[in-house]
């Protein structure tokens, strides 16, 4: 049984990490090593010229090249990563804050037609987001929001809000009303009680919600591509935009950039891992 469990875990881990490992290996290759006919994945110091070899000489040139502006782009990788960070962070913070407040309202106040409202909120997720790419594009043109960070922050916030409201409502419903009522009795206003009692209790939920919102904003490609010509291009759109440029795809740089792009998400997830585990099982276990 133990053996079986471990073998399943090992196989799964390999499958899950292989693409990442391959990306890491690619990031330290030279460009010709990435496009050779024979897979070259064994790093070595020996610079053989055999075309059939499976070895390559590691180099960090690709990381240094990230600072250069590649042909087909207007800025270097770091400026696009900055876009991603700013847009991802702002939209995540906005979705979680608005979602928490909204969920609190639905959870605690007798909102007329609350069930219908909640269903409406959820229904915005039913259609694939790209189905509205044209209307959004036209709307954004009119408002002058194309190619701006604000535009993408607004869009991602709105898209993630439904998820945020539903997740947070689940968490807040689980916090006994008596907690905040006791605070009100003790002399605190409803807002004070919300800040001092509900928010600390809902932290787990907020962390879980933030992870989901960040991942979805971070990885979004379709809108980032369509609504942009230059100003607010995020990393996924940048890499995709490099296709077909005159110098060909700079695979080592793409791999190096991809690694750096994945790193913040991994770090963030590890940071809130404790909350995440509790949050995933939330509501499934009743005391």
């Amino acid at each position: 049984m133990k053996f079986l469990r471990w073998s399943v875990l090992i196989v799964y881990t390999l499958l899950a990490t292989l693409p990442l490992l391959w990306m890491a290996v690619t990031s330290i290759k030279g460009r010709e090593d990435t496009i050779s006919q024979h897979a070259r994945f064994i790093p070595t110091a020996d610079a053989s010229t055999d075309a059939q070899r499976h070895t390559f000489v590691p180099t960090t040139a690709s990381f240094a090249a990230l600072a250069e502006v590649h042909s087909g782009a207007r800025h270097n990788f770091w400026s696009y990563l900055t876009n991603s960070v700013v847009i991802g962070a702002l939209s995540t913070v906005a979705s979680v804050l608005l979602g928490t407040l909204c969920a609190y309202g639905f959870s605690r106040f007798p909102v007329p037609g609350a069930k219908d409202w909640l269903f409406f909120v959820l229904s915005t997720r039913f259609m694939p987001p790209l189905a509205v790419v044209m209307p959004v594009l036209m709307m954004y043109r009119q408002l002058g929001l194309t190619g701006t960070q604000t535009g993408l922050v607004l869009l991602y916030t709105v898209f993630n809000l439904s998820l945020s409201i539903w997740l947070m409502k689940g968490f807040i419903d689980e916090i006994p009303r008596a907690y905040e009522e006791a605070a009100q009795i003790d002399g605190y206003s409803r807002w004070d009680a919300f800040i001092k009692i509900i928010v600390p209790k809902a932290r787990t939920g907020m962390a879980v919600t933030a992870v989901f919102c960040l991942i979805s904003a971070w990885n979004e490609y379709g809108f980032a591509m369509t609504l942009n010509s230059s100003g607010a291009i995020t990393v996924p759109a940048y890499f995709a935009g490099l296709q077909g440029n005159i110098d060909g795809m700079p695979w080592p740089q793409v791999a190096a950039g991809g690694l750096l792009f994945v790193a913040p998400i991994v770090a963030f997830t590890i940071l809130v891992r404790r909350h995440l585990l509790r949050g995933m099982t939330f509501g499934t276990i009743k005391q």
Partner: protein, 365 residues
């Protein structure tokens, strides 16, 4: 009682189609301990919550020291409410829980004063040793002590207690009940104490208010409510074992039950049927000496003998119904024994208007 400390006039609260509070009128004197007694679902908790401001009211007014509370927020009312559950924040230390109300905006107390008040309340309740423990590690009794501490540390205008002892085991309940009653009187702050436990009600209250199905049935001193309940419904709320009901009609110098049994001698003129209640302790139990000399009219058969410590409860069959009587512990009774039951008319509570005992449906409200 010149002007009442707290006055409720026609307070009404509905939840959908159910009326939780139905035109409740109630007065509370300064420093008085009023116990609201009623079965589960009677509206007791709702009553406290409306006074605290956690629940809106549809009609009526609540005045505290002459001031209309409707315009005041929960915080502004300055009342303390001790909940049955969840009154503490589990992750905080006892000290932090006690300090929390003192740190509320608008109270603006200095650190020194906060420390002093916490220490004082803690010593009143004997929880000094627990101050630095997280609340979730406390036992039930300790938790409820701290919850009460959190209420008294503030020195509020009014205490509201929502079955604070219900979740504790019987022994602890009795200890805390005594402590709480003593504390309430020493604090001289009025208190409304809600319970479904008639023992708590009788032992603690200055006055008892009986609340059933959202309606305030009777308010009075424990002795008065116990011995002169205004309705069968109220009579049923107090007394262990429950009061006995008989449907009787005065006939030929006796109160006779429906099957013709003579309940007791009576000088009443012949009239319609009415309902009388007789407390088990007011039924005299005599051993039947022998077949001769015993009054067949008064002979009951014992169906069950329950030992309840100081006395024994005899469940008997008499006059075609089940009758509870109390007997001295020194005497010996067995199931199947025949005994003679004697009742005096002065011990019968009579409700002319109601010829039938309150049914199970009323009890279940």
């Amino acid at each position: 009682m010149s002007t009442p400390f707290l006055e409720l006039r026609g307070v009404t609260r509905r939840f959908g189609n159910t009326v939780a509070l139905d035109r409740v009128n109630l007065e509370l004197g300064d420093g008085e301990l009023l116990v609201v007694l009623g079965p589960t679902g009677a509206g007791k908790t709702t009553l406290l919550r409306t006074i605290a401001g956690l629940e809106p009211i549809e009609a009526g007014t609540i005045l505290m020291q002459g001031q209309d509370l409707s315009k005041l927020s929960v915080a502004q009312r300055d009342v303390a409410l001790v909940f049955q559950n969840f009154s503490l924040y589990p992750d905080w230390s006892v000290r932090r829980n006690l300090e929390f109300p003192l740190r509320a905006p608008g109270r603006a107390l200095g650190a020194e004063e906060i420390r002093e008040r916490v220490a004082h309340s803690a010593s009143l309740l004997g929880i000094e040793a627990l101050l630095d423990r997280p609340a979730r590690l406390l036992s039930g009794g300790e938790m409820q002590r701290v919850a009460i501490g959190r209420a008294i540390v503030r020195r509020p205008r009014l205490y509201l207690m929502d079955e604070p002892l219900t979740n504790l085991d019987a022994k602890l309940r009795e200890t805390l009940r005594v402590e709480l009653a003593v504390l309430a009187r020493s604090l001289r702050v009025p208190m409304i104490y809600v319970t479904h436990d008639q023992g708590e009600a009788l032992s603690m209250a200055d006055r008892i208010a009986v609340l059933v199905a959202g309606k305030l049935q009777q308010v009075g001193a424990p002795r008065e409510v116990y011995s002169r309940p205004i309705s069968p419904l109220v009579a049923r709320q107090l007394g262990q074992p429950e009061i006995n009901f008989f449907t009787v009609r005065p006939h030929a110098g006796f109160l006779c039950t429906e099957d013709g049994t003579r309940l007791c001698a009576s000088a009443k003129a012949e009239s319609e049927q009415s309902l009388v209640g007789v407390r088990p302790e007011h039924i005299e139990v005599r051993t039947v000496a022998g077949a001769a000399g015993s009054d067949a009219q008064r002979t009951a058969v014992i169906e069950l003998v329950e030992n309840s410590g100081p006395h024994q409860i005899l469940v008997t069959r008499w006059a075609g119904q089940r009758v509870h009587a109390l007997a001295d512990r020194s005497r010996e009774f067995h199931v199947g024994d025949r005994v003679e039951l004697r009742i005096e008319e002065r011990n019968c509570v009579s409700w002319e208007a109601e010829p039938r005992a309150p049914g199970a449906s009323l009890r279940a409200t």
